[in-house]
Symmetry: C2
Subunit: 515 residues, 2 copies
């Protein structure tokens, strides 16, 4: 069957039934949240286990268990590899592996897929593991969800977790977790909160055990069953993803400049503006320009949210925002700010972006800047698959912030090598065009026809090269030609879930023409 | 049927089935938590309603709805009366009324019972409403639960809430609730947290609406559906219950002195001791003596928990505790400390005392001081019914802290008028004797035979009048005689639930001999 944006979705696949995407705000959930198991605790109960194996045994691990992780230590994380190695050494097979994201450092997960320790994956597969799965090396398709969608899936019971393993930069002996302090401090553990509340058993792994009571940040002793102390949970230097420094690349500076003008002229850049940006080069460049406009015009914003970077901390410090709402710190400046600044507030993934709650932060956003691998004529955006069709990137907060913000601006170079950004149809729809308002490249600014109001505003600005998205498309083809279409097998390697639990697209295996 | 401590409990009453109490730590819950309804929110959704009636209508109130309240504004609360008056004026009947506690200021609730607006009650009935219900004026028995037991009941689905109404000293426009600031600041809203998470709909009523985003304390916008602004939610002066000033009464000072010696000689009063005390005269006197011992011996405790008083704040300020873990502030000194001191930490009722979680604070307690109306030869304690059999007091944290603490000390005068404290069998069992270690009166210190270790220690102290509880009983009878036994009808007016959800006792209607 086709979903509402024309993507072919199987009604059923490998026994799983799918609900097709029907529009960003169409689905109204019925029924109740998932009900996690009741627990019991007594005076004198101890939580600290001898080692990870003992904790896993105490948590009841067995073949087929679902195990979740979070990625706040990013490319500096030691815990996913440590835990999966331990699970492998215990002879456990067929784990449902539920990370929030993977990085290059998690390459050895490939071995655990090969040997059948990991049987299914639900989570972003950034980098080498994504490449391996894209080659058809996992029997079941990977489920990709946005940060808000993952919280929703866990709270609704679409994704159930047997054991959540939480990398805890500091943990007291009763299980209070702090991530602002400790040798591996990494900023708020926003993505791990839902896991701690809904998993059948929760293991905290820490390299800084402190006496009870520590002051709770986001995760309470109320939910922690086992504590394991290790030498190091990670290398906080690895938190910096390398993309959070403002670019000197003239192309991205140009995109950033246009994007900042789009924001300036949108009517949103006034006192109490709220703002989010990713850590991509063009986004950060745009934020730097926005900063200067706000300083010049003496605008005081309300909040910046999302993955917080040093740049947003700098804007806060200059008085441009009153609060930083942080689900994950992107660099060590943000980590330090979370530790020192009471206005730098940690939020859970559910508070950040879960649409099936009484309210989430993205719904309060004025403006978000997001990247793209492809954008199509309907403003649908692909961030998941590469130009060769491989599934290499997660959704992150892309769907969530696009749906929530009053204005969603996609910033991306018009070409990657000789591959155009704007295509007739994106390879994979991550984020539906109805939630995308503006595309900014180094050569043009295209406005979604749904937003005639913005188009009118931008047309008045001489410094903005306003074009239709079709014009950008044609101009691109003239310059680099049309790329060869990718051919696919029928096998599905990835399911792209929309944040509401419906299926917005599937990723099929690319036909290997070398064979 | 009789439960394990010999109390006659009906297996069934008015269609409700009861699980008899089987020991403080015997019941292991099976199954899952209650699953509250999924919600949905969209960008642009507004939460502020015109008035309370509009919010109640939006929340779907109807005949038979269950409505919960919390008592952090204590005798200064305006919200319960305001909301119940509004509900009455809407013509709604047969509400299941679920307050955490009631005070004298809530006397007019009696009218709503008389007119059928309130049909059932689940919650503590302190004061005039308790007297009214004790006279048999409610068709269904009242359910009494401890603070931890109430959180457990809500989380397990034993008690379901249609609409939670939260008195919010400060609320931002998106529903973030703060209670440390605002004209009606009242300390942490510990008892309202579970309600906010599990109610079908949640209404915040505030007299201080602020712009989003405010910094979250215990209750998140994630759970708030409607916001109502009123002139005043309460009179913070009424928070002070009048019992939190250290007594000058020589009898209570004597009890306090003995209790402090019990603590001193228990072996628990060493560095990192944790401590809780209620706000009764003898308890506060004991805390004052303990303070002086700690100062003298240079002991630094770990934490004090529970309802926090100015006395505990003073002990913190003198360096005697590292943290204050606060579920409810008992006076304005505590309210100010919660606002100003980062080590004064708000906790939810579930974090405080819910036994069916991965851990709660009471399990970490070394020593708690608690009051009593009656104590029997098995060390069972009654705090619910008065000497005339009327149900006038709630359970509070009595069951919870007694179960959790390493040493539970009951402090109470040996006589109230000519009524002895120690009886053969308490009128009502609130807290089972197996969780009570020591009784301290102005004339004696009795140790539960289960605690031979403590008895040995106390016998060595010349300044402690150690007696058996039977000796105290006999001495009391010699002095004032045996009181006339109360005679009861078959009708049950109250159910005393143990914190694990089993029934520890029932309260029957006293035969009115005047009739």
């Amino acid at each position: 069957m086709k979903n509402i944006i024309g993507r072919e979705i199987p009604a059923e696949y490998q026994g799983m039934k799918f609900k097709p995407f029907s529009g960003a705000f169409e689905f109204v959930p019925k029924g109740s949240k998932y009900s996690p198991a009741l627990k019991v605790s007594k005076p004198g109960d101890k939580k600290v286990r001898k080692n990870l194996r003992e904790a896993l045994i105490a948590a009841g691990i067995k073949d087929g268990s679902s195990i979740s992780f979070h990625h706040h230590l990013r490319n500096g994380d030691y815990i996913i590899n440590m835990a999966m190695d331990e699970i492998a050494s215990m002879g456990i097979k067929n784990i449902r592996f539920i990370p929030t994201a993977l990085f290059g450092v998690h390459k050895k997960i490939i071995e655990h897929i090969k040997t059948g320790v990991i049987g299914k994956i639900s989570g972003s597969l950034n980098g080498p593991v994504g490449r391996f799965v894209s080659d058809g090396n996992l029997k079941y398709p990977v489920f990709l969800r946005s940060h808000g969608g993952r919280a929703r899936a866990i709270e609704s019971g679409d994704e159930t977790i047997d054991i959540a393993i939480i990398a805890a930069p500091t943990c007291d002996e009763f299980g209070t977790i702090l991530s602002s302090v400790g040798q591996s401090a990494c900023g708020p553990l926003g993505y791990a909160v839902t896991d701690s509340q809904y998993a059948r058993q929760v293991i905290a792994v820490t390299d800084n055990l402190v006496p009870f009571p520590a002051k709770k940040e986001l995760i309470s002793y109320n939910h922690i069953d086992h504590i394991v102390v290790v030498d190091k949970i990670g290398n906080p230097g690895g938190i910096v993803s390398g993309t959070t420094v403002v670019t000197r690349d003239t192309l991205r500076l140009k995109i950033g400049h246009y994007a900042s003008k789009v924001i300036e002229h949108s009517g949103l850049l006034i006192d109490d503006v709220s703002f989010q940006t990713g850590a991509g080069g063009a986004s950060l460049a745009a934020a730097e320009f926005v900063k200067n406009i706000m300083l010049e015009k003496k605008i005081t914003g309300s909040f910046a949210s999302g993955g917080i970077t040093g740049l947003l901390v700098d804007m806060y410090n200059k008085g441009l925002f009153k609060k930083l709402l942080d689900v994950q710190s992107f660099d060590l400046e943000a980590v330090a700010s979370y530790r020192d600044n009471p206005d730098h507030i940690g939020i859970s993934a559910s508070e950040y972006a879960n649409p099936h709650t009484s309210g989430c932060i993205v719904n309060q956003l004025d403006c978000v800047l997001l990247g793209a691998t492809e954008v199509d004529l309907n403003f649908n955006v692909n961030v998941n698959t590469e130009v060769d069709g491989a599934l290499l990137h997660g959704i992150g907060g892309h769907q969530d912030t696009a749906a929530g913000a009053k204005m969603t601006v996609i910033v991306a170079p018009q070409f990657r090598g000789n591959i155009p950004l704007v295509v007739d149809d994106v390879t994979t729809v991550t984020t539906p065009g109805e939630t995308v308002d503006v595309l900014v490249t180094e050569r043009g600014v295209a406005v979604n026809p749904r937003r005639g109001d913005l188009l009118e505003r931008f047309k008045k600005c001489r410094d903005l090269p306003v074009k239709s998205i079709e014009e950008i498309r044609e101009e691109s083809i003239k310059l680099v030609g049309k790329p060869e279409p990718i051919e696919y097998e029928d096998d599905i390697i990835g399911i792209i879930e929309y944040r509401d639990g419906s299926i917005i697209d599937v990723v099929r295996k690319v036909i290997d023409k070398k064979k």
